[in-house]
Symmetry: D2
Subunit: 334 residues, 4 copies
């Protein structure tokens, strides 16, 4: 099946290219960014001797001529315009931006006015462990944010056991690639190296995304108090969920039951680290308790499970392929 | 005033040497480790052209002949034997081990049988912001652990406002120097680099230390749920305290009031990082809330405020000097 | 074709497993280390949900029953005993140790007495760009050291143009994975982080390996002055060759001519870095001159092109497959 | 003695402030940058509770009213205008830019037209080990570049023994703080982390600075072939000098003789690293030979010995103080 990658300049675009080059069922027939007119090797010198194609200036009509499905690795607000046009041309869309992740009202509160009201409500949230059947039957998947992916996979199995009205705290740590290629003070080597700090505590836009999905999936309302941190690594994400249990439960068993059929969830008996998932689509999870205090710890590759490989899993499902077809499982260790 | 450093081989021993070399009131007259018989430059090549003295095999009687105060940078269980002997010889002691940090019963539960029951109850916990007057009047200071230092300085101002019976969570991140010079899988470069992971979640021995001090100082019992992490940096410690407030309070004001007279607490309006405190005795603190959810974030240098410079502050107070005499304030930035 | 991996515990063993899992022509039928009796996932937790097989206690006879070719990722001196036994049992061998890299006399001078004099002279040096035809026709390949691989690929094209009798200098930089999993002061995170230093200057055992191959391939004797450095990265190797040219030549053209048919050499117009080759079998090369002064700069992944992926390229050639069958080309960037 | 710091915003400005705060003979009476009008703590948050003064908009006349000596930590081309004005107002100048480092002709070839022809020829090159007496008697010191400092200190003792007409190669490695605070692709964390690469090979502007000083000091002309590298550390610089000796000499003895009276040169018997000098004004040097091949290895802190602490050493000498008065000697180890 022929696929297009729109937004090839950034890290998630590059990861999509790298996965799809070796994918047994998908062929990349179109790669675009906002300017076009250069070889993909000029954008990404690591692709020399690997892929030799021209990058186009993104154009939905051209996509519809050569591809059945498009991955959109575009900025928020830009993506919705392309998605709308592609859907109207009968091209399936996996959107890696935030544009279809939230319900309309929440989106407009936390981002901006939405320009594709026709499709936003029909979009399926692309967290395969919880929305697999819907993903198989949709033309539009909203690929989850990296923090919500790791947070929800850790938190959802335990929602029914958490004390009603209690506070849920999430302390999350992300490698700097999550902030993209853009130069900034925070990603200047001399500032981040030998450093760690929180940012946007209690104010990050992934906080309402987590709250909304908990509510929709579990019909429970919790205040999710989310504090992300920037850590001095390039890729990897570790999420610590802290909550108060209603009663003493066998947390290990709850976790194992929840994911017994999940190919990409690995339950660990010892603490998880980010090296073991970097380079893969796996989410590793560990759980512990201290009386009523609950600690759930999850690890993903922020660019893969947190973006590009999860996008390809979603595309696999939308196209009737096996979930793990062509999906990276080999970690970068050491 | 003449001082001795017992336990000069490790990182905290080295930091003591580095601070005391330039201290205007203390003279180092004795440096020892468990073997003796070498120049301090062989132990620490960075001291070449800086300090040229022999390291002794530790002997309490010899210490008492040449020093009025001794810093013990020894392993737990070893330290109490030296401390006892030195105190009996009228040498003041600042003990950097855990041996006098807890009340007897708690110590024996979490560590081992105690061999100096005579002095353990009279030891003063060396957190100057909360025990200054007692420190001035004691001959034995138990220097706090690094995690308890950063955790207590963040948590204590808010204890009176936290909902009774609610869970307090601490997500702490430490540079690898906190684990000392000993080789281990966890500190192997290829394992820690580009990585982060929790260790001993809910089981670290600094957890009861924090709980006990909260109880003693504030007469309140809380379950402190403590999860430390190892991060890929050499020095620095960041602590995130999460708790549930009883009611809406002005958290910034509470913090400012608590530390208005503290020379080594810096209240930050934006998030704290570990670079700004590395190399110093400062503890930087930031606070935020989300309704009833509280987030207090503190940063220290784990080897300095978390060990050696705090030890020298305590020695300053015990000897009647100004608290900040000779204490490092210049961060390693960049 | 069925293959065995002997020596699965180390980094190169793990990399062999990771490559061969996805190799279209080779099937892993035997994995062994010195102890056996555990699942490969206990050795390498990153393989959970990826490979689920038992690790054997290494036994040559067992290998010969289930495999046609064996990769030996064993320590120097241990490897020759296994190689000898396997060759006598008609199993092809790719030896990743130093045991067959040098001629007998040089080996015994720089390592130890050799116990397989029968095979050492027939071994082929597995640098495919220079020994391809011999590799295709041998049963025993000595896989080159990481430093010699990067150094020879940079140096060999220019040997004929270097002033006779002049000194050749090589300043090489390696990530710490090259030193293996063994704990050491040098690989302690607190020692290597924020650091860089040379080791064994002019005395590293890869120096005679480079000199010998230059002499054998080019019939020219040069003193190669080799200084390796340890850098604070996990994987990657950068080699700088400095030499004096006989006369003004078009260095770019010489380089391009030398490697015009090489799939795994990428000639770069700007300086090379180690990120673009990490995760791949590529060797990137850049050349510059300043009058008669020559600078050739090469980059490889020390564990892949410097060990495991080059070993699989050699196995491909020995078995009549395409050189690049199943060989990693996708860099870890970012 | 009262001193001014002009150019307080960058890393070298910050290091000057940090040294001078604790200097027993100098008082900072004026701190300026190009904009003025802010507290120094807003420029450098790490100075909170350490220094509380306003930063001025740089003005030479104001300087002359309050200071006897000025440190200029300004960009090349900007610095010469200030230096000229200050010298005319009888203020001594230590210029950290390149503006007075070269002879006029070389400066204009490698930089731009010079606007202070009156003073450039009288400027003294501030490498104290080689120009101490001149520094004591001048009003204008050109503080050397970081690469030339480390390179010349390693190379100069051996110049007389190097084969005439042979090539000298320098492979230098610098932490990223050498490139300053400015954001760039090269200093983006995701690009530099886990990476290393050369830049400007044979074309860096510090190359003619090294060649010129060798010629002026030793009356020998050599082609210095200089290749700098960017390494994934914040501070520290390691320089490897490779050269061909005329004859067999005792290199260790030559080195020891050269620096027997130098307080800030430490000759090491084993290889040098950058951790042992980071935070100090020391230059550590190691030497080895292989027949006629020479390897000299030097290590400095690029921001201190390579800029700010060397500037204060020069100021000490210009003002008649002891060379090491107030100069940092305590390394950041670990």
């Amino acid at each position: 099946m022929n696929v297009a990658i729109i937004g090839a300049s950034g890290y998630t675009g590059l990861e999509l290219i790298k996965i799809l080059i070796n994918h047994p069922k998908f062929d990349i027939t179109y790669i675009a960014n906002s300017t076009g007119n250069e070889n993909v090797q000029d954008l990404h010198p690591c692709l020399k001797n690997v892929l030799n194609v021209d990058v186009q200036k993104a154009d939905a009509k051209e996509v519809s001529k050569v591809a059945d499905l498009a991955f959109l690795a575009l900025p928020h607000k830009t993506s919705m315009f392309f998605a709308k046009e592609l859907l109207d041309l009968n091209v399936k869309v996996v959107d890696l931006s935030a544009d279809y992740r939230l319900e309309l009202e929440a989106y407009e509160k936390h981002y901006c006015p939405h320009e594709d009201k026709e499709h936003i409500n029909g979009a399926v949230y692309g967290l395969p462990e919880y929305y697999k059947e819907s993903i198989k039957n949709t033309n539009l998947v909203a690929n989850p944010g990296c923090y919500p992916t790791a947070s929800l996979l850790a938190l959802l199995p335990f929602i029914d056991y958490i004390e009603s009205g209690s506070q849920i705290f999430i302390d999350a740590k992300s490698g700097v690639s999550g902030a993209g290629k853009k130069l900034s003070e925070a990603s200047h080597f001399a500032n981040l190296n030998e450093n760690i700090h929180a940012y946007n505590p209690f104010k990050h836009r992934h906080m309402p995304e987590i709250e909304e999905k908990v509510k929709l999936l579990k019909e429970k309302e919790f205040q999710i108090n989310f504090v992300p941190h920037l850590i001095p690594v390039t890729r990897g994400m570790l999420v610590s969920v802290f909550a108060t249990l209603k009663e003493d439960i066998d947390v290990q068993k709850v976790l194992e039951e929840s994911y017994k059929n999940s190919k990409f969830i690995r339950i660990r008996e010892n603490v998880v680290d980010i090296k073991s998932t970097a380079g893969t689509n796996f989410c590793d999870i560990f759980v512990a308790k201290n009386g009523k205090a609950l600690f759930v710890n999850s690890s993903i590759d922020n660019l893969l499970r947190g973006a590009s490989s999860q996008a390809v899993v979603n595309a696999n499902l939308m196209c009737g392929f096996e979930e793990d077809e062509g999906i990276p499982k080999i970690a970068y260790v050491p």
